[in-house]
Amino acid sequence: MGFTAKAQVYKAAIQETVLGAGEKALTLGGARTQPLCAFDEAWKNAPAVGVEVSDIPFETAGLPALAAWYEGCGSFGDRVKKAAEMEGAKFICLHFEGADPGGENKSVEEIVALAKEAAAATDLPLVIAGCKNVEKDQALFSAVSDALPDRNPLFLSAREEDYKTIGAACAMANGHKVGAESAVDINLAKQLNVLMTQLGVPAAGIVMNLGSAAAGYGFEYVASTMDRVKAAALEQNDTMLQMPVITPVALETWSVKESIMSEADMPEWGSQEERAIEMEIVTASACLTSGSDAVILRHPESVKTIAAMIAALA
């Protein structure tokens, strides 16, 4: 008697949030189906792939293809420009690792100058990631927010400790977007969204960073949190969990053993670069399958592959 598939389309939808400005502006969210299920209903907006560029040039020993991609880039702006040329890149993530007071400790002024340089180098939407130091991130996000008034960037991330300052300085004062970061727990994620909106940040200005992990490193928590958040958003119409999800995959996968052990140390594992790429690809694919609306990647091969997979599923 055959089989007729039932399209599973929900009444509720993931909230739409716009990043960036002008022709290259990017809309995240809008889906009324389970993640990636374009066969149930065509996408309003496809999930997006962004490229991570750090103010500290990437370590490229053992990574010839990555080194070749950025070869000849003298400045941060050059690297941003080059990153934007990757096939499938829809936005750029400026990762200011160098601001870390425990590391290079670049001043807020230096970071602002770099952010302006990056903004001049590309018209793709910008996502600003900090150095994970709460005090420093607050200061640098506020300053970068004021320095890029017309670019509508997304700031990663506001946490329970600093959401007030970042929400006020970035989202409320300048109308930019803020990533609400929680550590793989649906209730904490929701609570942070509630607190941010109570502060006065419009819900449409919030994107969620639900936490991330490389494949094999506790990814079950990431997957289950995303599964639950999407279910609550779509089945329960929970408006405080309908924000689109962004996952900074590269910030996790490039520091695990599989990606950093040299081929000399682990000859049986083979090419270090292949390992790093596959780790990034597998993790990114798993994030999108679980419900990320955007992923941040580092390697041009990963960016190309994940963008192609999204296109093939559309």
């Binding site: 006020a168 509630v194 607190l195 279910a231 929970d238």
Partner: protein, 717 residues
């Protein structure tokens, strides 16, 4: 003159000055000359905010006078005072605009206004710089100090007092000279800003206020109601005005009150119109800080805990051995107690720490002492029901001190102070400092003031203990009298969702959380203290069946907080949609079909039950947030409740419990069984592991011999 006349007169005066200023400036620079304060996107912000006009030249400035005048209504109602007050501030802005139109640096040569005597206009960047911490409440508020304080010393004391509390300070008029004479450092970076030489400069401060509302609140121009609502709700400002107060200042003060900013003054003349918390007459200038903060409802965070040892949760499990001990307060041997009491806020001196009796250094090493800690708290939202919740937290607060060990609660506490802590300088008052800081911070929502008294004098402690026991008894009595019928709401608890994603506890007075740690009272307090937290209110208005314990509201809550995994629960049934179990339940009850009853087993009991399963076997099929009819996790205190499986006939269904568990609930269980069924010593009829373990037939034989009521009841399935 009454206050109405003073306001009207002051506002007329300001308007006249504005008219004159416009006339003279027009003569000087003509009507096409530009008008701007510089570095702002909001034109003349006060005028834009309250009229919608965007003034860019002298002609427009002149035209703006008309709507300003029109706002100065004179009907002798409160609204007239407020409108005139706002209009007075706009008139002041007109005067300031004229100054800037003639000379872009009217307050000095320096480009950086912080280097000039008066700061004048503030840029949008400065509004943001101040606005962000005002929104986040890192700066709890700001004060505008107007004119000369009675003495230079008082001026400095107020400025420094506010500064030390993190309050941003704006100065207008004579107090600026007082501060300069005393060498007070001023400028935006040190959060003390001398704005201008007279009250006219107030327009710069209100300009900052309305721009903050534009920027952070997305308030639209010419929206009087929403602008004032925003400033009232979100901008924690207030005014201190010194006598003699000019009529123009009073008129501007009316504008401040319209925006929700209270005015505190020592002027008594013509102040016949009083509004509590809005216009406060207080002639004792030295008490203005507390008085002002209370009027504006500003609560300060305690950031430093003044103790000589570290405070961290890492020390919570620290054990102090006898040999390392400086002294000990042991409630099982000496009189000791801890008590939190609610008191009228006016009778509490915030942060007062008192010691009655000897201090640590006055006792001998290793001595066992008497000790009573009385914490008194007050606040508009404080309720006596929160007392036990806070009191129980004393344990974890004190335990976080390095070198201090704390166990127990009420009059059964034990505290040890280590030699190392003593040598680091730890004394009795530091208990007070710690409790003050922790309670103020943790219970910010309800505690406005807190004081701590520590008693070590044996007779006094003995008296206190007798008194405290009466209070403890009264509390227990109140808790035991609470019933599901006597309250209007239940609460959710979803603390366990990190382990058990779809589990939701519904906490009622008679059915505490299944972990046994969250009573209805705890859930209520948790909800009030953290309205977005794990305990949410569940109304119980729409009854479906009160016998079985079904409410539509409860079902909706379960659906919402299980994120759709559960549809409905019956609070008083284990057969029909029983409540789910997370994994941390104290006890499990399960149906025993041969006796028509249920067995209950607690986590500590490892033996097999007559159902043929142990606690952990039962737990493995009951946990995880799924409904398993016939089996249910619950708290120990639910067992003797009249609501315990009421739908299936209640307590008389209990046929087996481990002996230790049976004994711990015997008193109440027997009392309720007597009341409900007229059975004496019901627990004697309930089997335990000394009588039968994994054998249902032996169980039935025992029950038959005892005449257990369950045997005669209808089968449960």
């Amino acid at each position: 003159m009454g206050l109405f006349d003073v306001v009207f007169h002051g506002s007329d005066e300001m308007y006249a000055l504005a008219e004159t200023a416009v006339k003279e400036t027009l003569e000087k620079i003509g009507e096409d000359a530009p008008v701007a304060f510089g570095s702002t996107a909001y034109y003349l912000a006060c005028i834009k905010a309250y009229t919608g006009l965007e003034v860019t030249n002298m002609a427009q400035l002149r035209d703006a006078l008309t709507p300003i005048r029109a706002m100065m209504t004179r009907n002798r109602r409160t609204a007239d005072i407020f409108h005139s007050g706002i209009a007075t501030v706009m008139a002041a802005e007109v005067i300031e605009a004229c100054k800037y139109a003639v000379n872009p640096l009217p307050y000095g040569e320096n480009e950086n206004p912080n280097d000039n005597k008066y700061h004048g206009h503030m840029t949008d960047a400065e509004v943001r710089e101040l606005g962000v911490p005002l929104v986040t409440r890192d700066i709890p508020g700001f004060v505008v100090l107007i004119d000369e304080a009675p003495t230079d010393e008082q001026a400095v004391a107020l400025i420094k007092g506010y500064q030390s509390r993190g309050i941003f300070v704006f100065l207008l008029g004579g107090i600026i000279d007082q501060a300069m004479r005393k060498g007070v450092k001023m400028g935006f970076p040190v959060r003390v800003v001398p704005v201008g030489p007279d009250i006219i400069g107030v327009s710069h401060i209100i300009s900052l206020v309305v721009r903050a509302a534009f920027i952070f609140g997305n308030i639209q121009p010419n929206d009087y109601v929403n602008m004032n609502r925003y400033t009232m709700d979100r901008i924690f400002a207030f005014v201190n005005a010194f006598s003699p107060v000019s009529d123009m200042t009073v008129a501007c003060g009316a504008g401040a009150i319209a925006e929700g900013f209270p005015v505190i003054t020592n002027e008594v003349k013509d102040m016949d119109w009083r509004v509590p918390k809005s216009l406060v007459i207080n002639t004792d200038v030295d008490t203005w800080i507390d008085c002002s903060l209370e009027a504006r409802g500003i609560k300060l965070k305690v950031t430093n805990i003044d103790v000589p040892v570290a405070v961290s949760s890492a020390f919570e499990g620290e054990i102090i051995r006898k040999g390392d001990m400086q002294l000990e307060a042991d409630g099982s041997r000496k009189d000791c107690l801890e008590l939190v009491r609610t008191k009228d806020v006016r009778e509490i001196e915030d942060h007062k720490i008192t010691l009655v009796g000897k201090d640590i250094d006055e006792f001998g090493v290793g001595e066992k002492i008497c000790m009573a800690t009385i914490v008194e708290v007050g606040g508009a939202k404080m309720q006596p029901d929160f007392e036990p919740v806070m009191e129980r937290k004393i344990h974890s607060f004190v335990n976080c001190l390095e070198g201090i060990m704390h166990t127990g609660q009420r009059d059964l506490i034990r505290i040890r102070v280590s030699k190392a802590a003593f040598e680091a300088g730890f004394r009795m008052k530091h208990f007070g400092e710690l409790l003050y800081a922790k309670i103020k911070n943790e219970y910010e929502a309800v505690v406005d003031k807190c004081q701590v008294t520590i008693y070590t004098e044996p007779e006094k402690v003995h008296e206190l203990r007798i008194e405290a026991n009466k209070i403890y008894d009264a509390r227990d009595d109140r808790v035991s009298k609470l019933s599901d019928e006597s309250v209007d709401v239940f609460y959710t608890c979803i603390l366990c969702q990190s382990f058990s994603p779809s589990h939701v506890c519904i906490v009622t007075p008679e059915r505490l959380g299944l972990c046994g740690a969250v009573s209805w009272m705890d859930a209520k307090a948790t909800n009030q203290l953290d309205p977005n937290g794990p305990c949410q209110i569940v109304p119980k208005e729409r009854v479906v069946d009160e016998e079985i314990g079904i409410w539509e509201d409860v079902n909706e809550a379960v659906q919402t907080y299980s994120h759709g995994a559960l549809e409905q629960v019956s609070l008083y049934s284990i057969m029909q949609d029983p409540m789910t179990s997370c994994g941390c339940f104290e006890c499990i009850c399960g149906i025993e079909p041969f006796s028509n009853g249920v067995v209950i087993v607690n986590r500590e009991h490892t033996g097999v039950t007559p159902v043929g399963m142990t606690f952990s076997e039962l737990a493995s099929m009951t946990g995880g947030g799924v409904q398993t009819p016939g089996f249910m996790g619950h708290g120990r205190h639910f067992i003797p409740s009249k609501k315990f499986m009421k739908a299936e006939g209640g307590l008389q269904r209990i046929v087996w419990m481990p002996k230790a568990l049976k004994e711990s609930v015997a008193e109440k269980l027997n009392a309720n069984a007597k009341e409900l069924y007229g059975i004496e010593n019901f627990t004697d009829m309930i089997a335990d592991e000394t009588i039968v373990e994994g054998d249902p037939e032996a169980l039935v034989a025992f029950l038959t011999e005892k005449g257990h009521p369950a045997l005669g009841l209808e089968p449960m399935m």
